[in-house]
């Protein structure tokens, strides 16, 4: 019946117990490694099969996005489909949110339609935690304001691991708007747990000295740290999350922090250039660097699918379908 019956599917890891993926701060190093390993083996299985897998056949995953997103939403959808799940899309602009429905009510309504997992993004920290308290299905945080974006952190870490498997010898710099970056926070937690040295670098208005007490190096001058960095992750300036502009002009920011060919010359010869996207070409990264030989930006996108397949399967693969919509009809004879 199945064309990929011969494909070796990964076995479900017995150390995975979680129902939700809300942040990387609360994950152990072991759990992170489990996700990374699962992502690679699932993606291999999918590539070998040459078609969708059936691991999540009959499951439904809802995307509940309250902030604009192209890559994350599509990436989750594709990941779900490649595991055989159905997806339902929900965007706040074209929905009852404009009629005044609250976030929780909307999520509960979608859950009652019989979904097994809600993937959610919202501008406020803690919103996915809020849903996890109110819903019975699994909740995946696809970004809660500037707090965390766990799958982004994981896909960044997977990309790094594929090039530099030994985290203990690694120096990773996160450059840019650390204050407003969920990607930064998820990367910091994940990388620290795996033993990497992390530097946060950017203007003093966006990079607090307080990070030092969490064992993170704080720098404001990119040129002074560049020679020590194995990986640079160039974060986008979050213009939409700032009240008063934290630096005088984009021009001055680019002058101080943009990764350009001049700075590439002062970098380690095998430096990895990453960016979570969407990138502002000319602000944090110049086109010749973004498209240059050190850039792994597109690998990050591919790994994003692999990571999302892994977390969806880990969260749903072993669970019973327990949403109320299904329970209500269990045992009902027709």
């Amino acid at each position: 019946m199945t064309a990929h019956a011969s494909v070796l599917l990964p076995t479900y890891p017995d150390n995975w117990k979680r129902r939700h993926l809300l942040d990387l701060e609360s994950l152990s190093a072991e759990e992170i490694v489990t996700i990374l390993d699962t992502a690679e083996s699932l993606y291999k299985a999918y590539t070998a099969a040459g078609q969708k897998l059936s691991l999540l056949n009959g499951r439904t995953i809802a995307n509940l996005f309250y902030e604009n997103s192209t890559r994350t939403r599509n990436s989750f959808s594709l990941a779900a489909k490649r595991l055989g799940a159905d997806t339902v899309e929900f965007a706040s602009s074209s929905s009852s949110v404009s009629k005044g429905e609250t976030y929780i009510d909307t999520a509960k309504t979608i859950e009652a339609m019989g979904v097994d997992a809600v993937v959610t993004r919202h501008a406020t920290p803690g919103t996915s935690h809020l849903l996890a308290q109110h819903l019975n299905c699994s909740v995946l945080n696809a970004g809660d304001g500037p707090h965390e974006h766990p799958t982004q952190g994981l896909l960044d870490i997977l990309t790094i691991r594929q090039h530099r498997p030994n985290f203990k010898d690694l120096t990773v710099a996160l450059v840019g708007d650390i204050a407003h970056s969920r990607t930064a926070r998820s990367n910091i937690w994940g990388l620290k747990k795996l033993g990497a040295h992390v530097i946060v670098c950017g203007p003093a208005t966006l990079v607090s000295r307080k990070w030092e007490s969490l064992g993170v190096e704080v720098a404001h001058n990119l040129d002074k740290i560049l020679h020590r960095c194995d990986v640079l992750n160039l974060l986008r300036i979050q213009f939409e999350r700032q009240d008063t502009r934290p630096f005088p002009s984009v021009r001055e920011y680019a002058l101080l922090y943009a990764m350009n060919s001049e700075r590439m010359k002062n970098s380690k010869p095998n430096i990895l250039i990453m960016a979570p996207g969407p990138i502002n070409r000319g602000v944090e990264i110049t086109p010749e660097v973004a498209d240059g030989p050190h850039s792994v930006i597109l690998e990050q996108v591919t790994n994003g699918i692999a990571i999302r397949m892994a977390v969806l399967w880990l969260l749903l693969g072993q669970s019973k379908r327990t949403t109320p919509a299904i329970r209500q009809y269990e045992g009902v004879r027709t």
């Binding site: 406020t124 920290p125 803690g126 919103t127 965390e148 990070w211 009240d243």
Partner: protein
């Protein structure tokens, strides 16, 4: 016998604590005709028909006085009404509440003062004083008709819950109120530093990435207020102080001889910013829950009298308002029902505060700010008396709230200390079964 008809009561065997007179001993207290008749009366002083209450194991204290209680009515009856607020106050041991003026419409006219007073009289539970607005519409621009407000019965003035941001208005208000001998209540904050803020700025805020409310926002406004107070010689109560910086400024001002009254909210002494990790909407309050060093500074200041007054900080919010993302959730915690237990559990039992000082901060001092005859068990004073069982352990549950709103993070938790009986003007208004 119906307690409403009972005109005299003898409270026996209780530990009587009167912060106004410094009394703390086991004894008998006689209430008669609405007043404190005698402490340790002789047997022939006791009317034969006096109701007798055995207060063994209980603390007998003056009824608590709350400075700035939100009553919801008029305008936000989904949160609270005068009926429910006064009931919750009684059950919480408050025999006098001073209602906050942030109703809708705000209490900025004599009519609005009258409305609250009439409703409160009809509810006939605890005493209700009215705090009027400092500015018209509580908008912080022009002075409200303070003379008319006072004439109608306003006992203090405040633009609660917001700060008076306009320094010129603050100065003028302090001067103008000199004529009426009324306190101005202000929560010190520089709003431009806390705009869209959700939690205290610090390590935990850095991790959770919730919009920050830095301590300096309070320190700067405290400093400004103290300076204006010194210039004008007015009467100022700094409500809801929550930072080590504020405490330090106030301590030094008091040492210089500046007369200022200072309050803090119970929540700010019980919970720290780490608790925000739960993202519990009921912990979103303003001033925000601070970090340990601020809490310790405030506890110390309360114990040594730098902070005079404890307030419940009662801000009832309907469930639907708190069931939202944190950025949309309004500030506030419903605390009348749990205030005493919080003080016992978080401050008195761990040794941060004595009973004497707790009751002073909770009754004598706020009564002084309001200029009302409360907060004392001295003979001849109104018989506003409460009985607290300090060892009583109970679990906070939704059904127990007399307040209409249950936005309280302690639901489900076990606390110590419970108000068992409440007398207002010599009448037994509340008795827990």
């Amino acid at each position: 016998m119906n307690s409403k008809l009972q005109t005299s009561w003898l409270i026996e065997n209780g530990r009587i604590i009167c912060p106004a007179s410094g009394i703390d001993r086991v004894g008998r207290l006689l209430l008669r005709q609405g007043l404190i008749e005698a402490m340790d009366p002789s047997d022939d002083q006791i009317p034969s028909d006096a109701g007798r209450i055995d207060a063994s194991g209980h603390i007998v204290a003056p009824g608590l006085v709350d400075l700035g209680t939100e009553i919801g009515e008029p305008g936000r009856e989904e949160d609270e009404t005068i009926e429910t607020a006064t009931m919750a106050a009684l059950a919480g041991g408050f025999t006098t509440i001073a209602c906050a003026p942030n109703t809708d419409p705000p209490i900025d006219t004599a009519q609005a003062v009258e409305f609250v007073r009439q409703k409160a009289a009809r509810a006939d539970r605890c005493r209700v004083c009215v705090i009027g607005c400092v500015s018209k519409g509580r908008e912080g621009q022009e002075l409200a008709e303070i003379g008319s407000l006072v004439d109608a019965g306003a006992v203090a003035l405040s633009d609660y819950p917001g700060p008076i941001n306009n320094a010129a208005l603050m100065r003028r208000a302090l001067e103008y109120c000199l004529m009426f001998d009324r306190y101005i209540l202000d929560r010190p904050e520089v709003p431009s530093l806390t705009r869209h803020g959700i939690m205290h700025e610090g390590m935990m805020q850095l991790i959770l990435a919730l919009a920050p409310m830095p301590a300096e926002a309070e320190d700067l406004a405290t400093s400004r207020n103290l300076r204006l107070l010194e210039t004008t010689g007015g009467k100022l109560h700094l409500s809801c102080v929550s930072t080590a910086g504020s405490v330090d400024l106030i301590r030094r001002a008091k040492e210089r001889g500046i007369t200022v009254s200072v309050g803090t909210r119970i929540a700010n002494l019980c919970f720290d910013d780490e608790s925000m990790r739960s993202f519990d909407a009921n912990l979103k309050v303003n001033p925000p829950l601070r970090s340990r060093e601020h809490i310790e500074a405030c506890r110390e200041a309360l114990a040594d009298g730098t902070i005079d007054v404890l307030t419940s900080g009662h801000q009832p919010r309907a469930l639907e308002k708190k069931m939202q993302e944190l950025s949309a959730v309004p500030f506030g915690m419903s605390t009348l029902d749990t205030a005493v237990a919080q003080v016992v559990t978080y401050l008195i039992r761990p040794g941060h505060l004595s009973w004497q000082r707790a009751l002073e901060a909770f009754s004598t001092k706020p009564a002084h700010v309001l200029g009302v005859e409360a907060g004392s068990l001295q003979v001849g004073r109104p018989a506003d008396v409460i009985l607290i069982d300090p060892e009583k352990q109970w679990t906070v549950c939704n059904e127990d709230f007399y307040s209409r709103s249950r936005n309280n993070p302690l639901v489900g938790q076990a606390l110590y200390g419970r108000v068992q009986t409440v007398f207002v003007g010599g009448q037994r208004k509340f008795s827990r079964a």
